[in-house]
């Protein structure tokens, strides 16, 4: 019995070879840990003729200091992120966020790159073939209609990755490999607010690493979910704060689990002010105007929006107290 559609598996040994393959193959798909794509393939959500297994690229799992940055290879497993000394010392928020992803067995296989590039999710999409067939499919796959926003011409599936908001709050860059070499972009620019085309990577590009600048201040991540393990975030907020005396000198806030992409939140109105009820209201308003929670999860949008605002307050109280 074969649960997966037919495909040819390529197992390149080097990044160069992987990039070459990805450029040659039409509609290539990649697998590393497998916890996202293999589940989706099994549900018939894609039928790639070729699958490129990146898990053999040993040159992509290094964690190393380059200048004043920490570079983390895209194949680094989440389990390693949770227990790596260099990560824990410089970016504890990243290690803590990695520890909240799925369960320990997923983390042993799942990779940083896979977590960032994971598919968007929706109650109308993450279903069996039979279920979707009975529901005339949906805009994200095989269908012509979005069941979440009926008159929409784009897909509203939600991005639920935990690490992207943390990396965005930390001001990290994505290092992307392509035929000509490497290019570098802010992590937030990896994503596009379109559930069906949520990544900006070109077909011949592979996410190779993340580069983290030094953290000046304190960062943290908070995740709202039904159970304290396995579940995806119903909402997630990351904040990196630089506190000077009694004022917010610098602040970066990013959210996940709300829109089709992880998003930066404009918190410029809070800069130069102390963290108190007034600035908490400003943050709450900024979050509300940025997030568009829709009926893409079993928990209702209203709940997710309120949970986001409540958890953000708790998160900021914490980073402010320790900042």
């Amino acid at each position: 019995m074969n649960a997966l559609p037919d495909f040819r598996l390529h197992r390149p040994a080097t990044l160069d070879e992987a990039v070459r393959l990805k450029a040659q193959i039409e509609h290539p798909a990649c697998v590393a840990g497998g916890s996202d794509i293999l589940v989706n393939l099994r549900r018939g959500l894609a039928k790639p003729g070729d699958l490129i297994d990146l898990s053999g690229l040993r040159d992509l799992d290094a964690i190393e200091r380059i200048g004043d940055e920490l570079w983390i290879g895209a194949l680094t497993t989440l389990a390693r992120l949770t227990r790596d000394g260099a990560v824990a010392a410089a970016y504890p928020a990243l290690a803590e966020a990695a520890a909240t992803v799925a369960g320990p067995t997923h983390r042993a296989a799942a990779t940083l790159g896979g977590n960032l590039c994971q598919d968007t999710r929706c109650v109308y999409y993450n279903q069996s073939e039979w279920w979707r067939d009975g529901n005339a499919y949906c805009l994200k796959h095989c269908g012509e209609k979005c069941h979440v926003v009926a008159k929409s011409d784009r897909c509203y599936a939600t991005y639920h990755g935990d690490l992207a908001p943390v990396l965005m709050a930390l001001g990290a860059s994505a290092i992307v490999a392509r035929a000509g070499g490497l290019r570098r972009l802010p992590v937030e620019n990896l994503f596009r607010e379109d559930g069906a085309h949520y990544l900006t990577l070109a077909p011949d590009e592979i996410l190779a690493a993340i580069a983290l600048p030094p953290l000046n201040g304190r960062a943290a991540y908070v995740k709202g979910r039904v159970r304290e393990s396995v579940d995806f975030p119903l909402t997630g907020i990351a904040a990196a704060l630089k506190r000077e005396g009694d004022v917010i000198a610098a602040l970066r806030v990013a959210i996940t689990g709300m829109n089709s992409a992880p998003l930066m939140v404009d918190v410029s109105k809070l800069i130069g002010k102390p963290w108190n009820d007034e600035t908490a209201t400003l943050l709450s308003n900024a979050l509300r105007s940025r997030a568009t929670a829709l009926a893409t999860t079993l928990a209702g949008p209203k709940y997710r929006r309120r949970a986001m605002q409540g958890l953000a307050r708790r998160l900021m109280d914490q980073v402010w107290a320790h900042g």
């Binding site: 598996l9 293999l38 997923h106 993450n126 304290e228």
Partner: protein
């Protein structure tokens, strides 16, 4: 499309020509008849298909068989190789850590991975390590107690060895 998989399963080296799209769980269950590895859900949510790959727990339902090329795979059948239950398996029996039994192989292998990495885990560490494995009989308390007992008996064995 087929490829050759060279792998060590429960201590025995094998070479098999298998389809590229074969999942590890189907290779083990249908190819090798090792049906102790269970398929609970279809989406990596329940942990019933947990096996060990180079001592790390791994979900066989979301791993391609060819991804364990050259590696060491252990299933529940490999634990009690000579017929005797391991102390961990005995503890599951003694502490009633098994009800319907469907989650048990995955639970035991996830616990085995923890005990190999950390022979003396605390209760929190045990709960953490098993947090991706679901028991639909809701027998989690007995399961945690079983792993604690196994860790305890390992500690006593180590102490006795030290005393000798």
């Amino acid at each position: 499309m087929k490829s050759i998989l060279s792998v060590t399963v429960n201590g025995r080296r094998r070479e098999d020509a298998i389809p590229d799209n074969l999942l590890l769980i189907d290779y083990l269950r249908d190819g090798l008849g090792l049906t102790g590895t269970k398929q609970g859900c279809d989406g990596g949510e329940c942990g019933a298909c947990t096996v060990l790959v180079d001592d790390e727990p791994r979900l066989a339902c979301s791993t391609l068989a060819l991804q364990v090329q050259g590696r060491r795979v252990e299933t529940i059948e490999g634990l009690a190789g000579d017929g005797d239950l391991t102390p961990l398996q005995r503890a599951f029996q003694d502490k009633l850590g098994t009800e319907c039994g469907f989650c048990t192989p995955g639970m035991i292998l996830a616990a085995e991975a923890l005990l190999r990495r950390n022979p003396h885990p605390g209760r929190e560490e045990i709960k953490q390590a098993l947090s991706g494995n679901l028991c639909r009989c809701a027998g989690h308390a007995q399961i945690v107690a079983a792993v604690e007992t196994a860790a305890e008996s390992r500690k006593n064995e180590t102490a006795m060895e030290g005393a000798r």
